[in-house]
């Protein structure tokens, strides 16, 4: 167990702490990306949608953390051959991947800290609401980590990998209604929005803090779909996981 912890620490150090320490400018990117949408939505709505935008910022941060894992795993494996070095060592795949995923969350800490302060000022969630939000964000993170990991096993080219990562981030965390209520989307397009799990995450978060009102059935459905999608993505990731190439 102690060795597992050390292996995990190595992944965290390599994929986040050392980069944050040696290239502090990268932190700006992780803060700016979710906050820029928050600022735009808040200004355009004249402050009316600040609650939705803050929750959207959380969802985008968590989703992007998982998607960044895809680019980073591919980058470390294909460009630096790091994964081959690690495979030929006593490291367990679970410690390697968990550490890499944890590193992505650590990367998001500055953004999450800013969002938490904003949430405390503008949303004032209670304990139950905070736990509900935490559950949604955690599911979002697990699902996107699983998706990122699965996609990283397909790509051996870093340009393709980062392009893919950006595309999926945009499709799932920027276009769907996570920064604003789904009712702002014209009806025919609303059905398309429901194809994205982030839409359900946004709805649960907005309902939890009283920004929108959903029926019990709708809330139950949203939770069910979100949990089912996350589990399905995790199962696919476990099935696709290959420590030794074939």
């Amino acid at each position: 167990m102690r060795a597992w912890g050390r292996e995990l620490l190595a992944s965290v150090l390599v994929n986040s702490i050392y980069e944050m320490k040696n290239y502090p400018v990268v932190l700006l990117n992780t803060v700016l990306s979710p906050l820029s949408f928050l600022i735009v939505i808040t200004f355009v709505s004249k402050g009316q949608l600040i609650g939705e935008a803050i929750e959207g910022g959380f969802i985008m941060s968590m989703f992007q953390s998982g998607m960044s894992l895809q680019g980073d795993l591919s980058h470390l494996k294909n460009d630096f051959k790091l994964q081959d070095m690690v495979v030929s060592s006593p490291t367990t795949p679970s410690a390697y991947v968990t550490g890499m995923a944890l590193a992505e969350v650590i990367y998001s800490i500055p953004a999450l800290a800013v969002l938490t302060v904003l949430a405390a000022i503008y949303i004032h969630p209670g304990v139950v609401q905070s736990l509900e939000l935490l559950g949604v964000f955690l599911l979002m993170f697990l699902g996107s980590v699983a998706m990122g990991f699965t996609l990283s096993t397909f790509s051996s080219d870093i340009v393709q990998s980062f392009a893919f990562s950006r595309l999926i981030s945009t499709v799932f965390s920027t276009l769907p209604p996570v920064y604003y209520p789904i009712t702002y989307i014209p009806l025919p397009f609303r059905y398309a929005a429901y194809l994205s799990p982030t839409t359900y995450a946004g709805e649960i978060a907005q309902n939890s803090t009283g920004l929108i009102q959903l029926s019990t059935t709708d809330i139950f459905s949203a939770w069910t779909i979100l949990i089912a999608v996350s589990l399905a993505l995790l199962l696919i990731a476990v099935k696709k996981a290959r420590w030794r190439d074939i």
Binding site: A10, Y18, F80, S89, T91, I246
Partner: protein, 306 residues
């Protein structure tokens, strides 16, 4: 079968996207698991595929391989406790320092943080990088970056080390320095080294395997490989016209553009005396690994085309 050996038995690898072409084709050999074992071959000969199978990174299609009696598939966990690998084209991560590179590698091997820090500094000092241990990798020269990678495996307790073309792209001085580090590393550990620099294998290896199109076409010590050739001595002159009448031997055009005479020892001495008397400039040596390599690869090529 001795336990302290690296053994390959009909090892074969066919990649799913290779249209049936065998990257490694029924490779069989046994080599003592100490000193330096070098695999040489042209690009695409199968060296990296073979190393990746042995280093438990890639599954073979058929056959088996063992290291000191441990099967690379069945006993992968035990083997991974004992091996370390610098893959072909491995690079240091630019946003890390040499010390952070070695330290994190040791953490992955389960070493405690404090011990990893101490061992990292020691290993970097052994390859002469104590002054650069806290400089970002991206600021280091190509040769220094390679030394950082060597320090990572040097710092570990692994007693079997795979180095896939570790000196590719290095300048002659950096290469010499790295050879010194590798020679020191091989004093107590088993090194499996792939290279397409024949001089490197000739200089460092105890045993050499020659791969061509996925097959082993030559295997043994340098002397054993020499013995596969009919002639053991090589004489180089500027042009064939300078040579006296050759009773025994083979005149060829060397890759340097010079005329090369391959012959036996007595004929080599006789001709060299004659060349000295005539004042012709020449060089004489035992056949090199390069001569052996080209002979074996050429012979295999001819067999394949027949």
């Amino acid at each position: 079968m001795s336990m302290e050996t690296l053994l390959c038995d009909s090892l074969t690898k066919v990649y799913s996207d290779s249209k049936g072409r065998k990257a490694v084709d029924s490779v069989s050999f046994e080599v003592p698991s100490h000193g330096i074992f070098s695999l040489i071959g042209m690009n695409g000969a199968g060296k990296t595929t073979l190393v990746r199978i042995l280093a438990t990174q890639l599954a073979p299609t058929a056959g088996r391989a063992t290291i000191d009696g441990l099967d690379v598939i069945v006993d992968a966990k035990k083997i991974r406790e004992r091996i370390a690998c610098i893959p072909q084209e491995a690079r240091t991560i630019p946003w890390m320092t040499p010390k952070q590179t070695v330290l994190s590698y040791l953490l992955w091997r389960g070493v405690s943080y404090n011990e990893a820090g101490r061992n990292a500094s020691e290993a970097l000092a052994k390859v002469g990088l104590e002054a650069q241990e806290n400089i970002l990798n991206r600021r280091l020269s190509g040769g220094t970056k390679r030394k950082v990678l060597v320090a990572t495996v040097l710092s570990s307790d692994a007693d079997i080390i795979f180095l896939d073309e570790p000196t590719t792209g290095l300048d002659p001085i950096s290469r010499q320095e790295l050879w010194t580090s590798l020679t020191r590393l091989a004093e107590h550990r088993f090194l499996i080294l792939t290279t397409h620099y024949l001089e490197e294998a000739e200089r460092l290896a105890n045993v050499i395997g020659i791969l061509h199109l996925g097959k082993v076409v030559g295997f043994g010590t340098l002397d054993q490989l020499r013995s596969t050739l009919r002639y053991q001595y090589s004489l180089m002159v500027t042009s064939e016209a300078e040579l006296p009448v050759v009773k025994e031997g083979l005149v060829t055009r060397a890759r340097t553009g010079q005329t090369q005479l391959l012959t036996d020892e007595s004929e080599a001495h006789e001709i060299s005396r004659s060349l000295l008397e005539k004042g012709v400039k020449f060089s004489m040596s035992r056949v090199s690994l390069e001569d052996i390599f080209f002979h074996l690869v050429h012979a295999t090529g001819q067999e394949d085309s027949e």
